[in-house]
Symmetry: C2
Subunit: 114 residues, 2 copies
């Protein structure tokens, strides 16, 4: 059984990191940073959405899931090292999966494989 | 004031369209269709996530928001005409914003401008 308190702490940490990133104001273009938090399925995303002149901007900045008690980094298009940020918040490396890396590479990272 | 019953109906219609699309099994690659439903902020997305051999797959298929009583189509990378699907479900055109088109084009579509 997963520890529900641990999962609750992970949710708080994830939302904190994503909300902080979403609070940055883009330096140009008319776009906003949106959070998409699916609390039921434990899927959490930040995306940039809007316009740069006539060009549509739509892209995921960060996406983290919680699956079976572990945090999966599904996407990261920022300069932030999310895994490090999670460790700094007290998440053990064995509870972090770098989902955006192929699994044969994961064993070299010190983080979880799945 | 927005009609809360109308909004509730819109939520049901959006989730139906997105869930149906998410239920399609990709023909190749090891990826899944995920829904991300943010019920608090009324943001609804389907994304493809996984692997095609060693290549990471991560992309939004559909994204719809409800804002001020209207449905915004923020992204659509499918062959489905979402606006038409909404109209077929009884959503009036004036409640549909093709957010992925620049607003100077929206007046030619018969749908709402904002």
């Amino acid at each position: 059984m997963e520890n529900p308190e641990k999962i609750q702490t992970y949710r708080t940490i994830i939302k904190q990191i994503l909300n902080q990133h979403a609070s940055y104001k883009p330096s140009h273009g008319e776009f906003e940073m949106q959070t998409l938090f699916d609390n039921e399925q434990d899927r959490y995303q930040v995306l940039a959405i809007g316009w740069n002149q006539d060009k549509r901007i739509y892209g995921c900045s960060m996406h983290l899931d919680i699956r079976a008690g572990k945090i999966w980094i599904q996407a990261n298009n920022t300069e932030i090292d999310i895994a490090e940020a999670l460790v700094a918040q007290g998440v053990p490396k064995e509870d972090i999966v770098i989902g955006l890396q192929p699994d044969y590479l994961r064993k070299y990272t010190g983080y979880a494989i799945a």
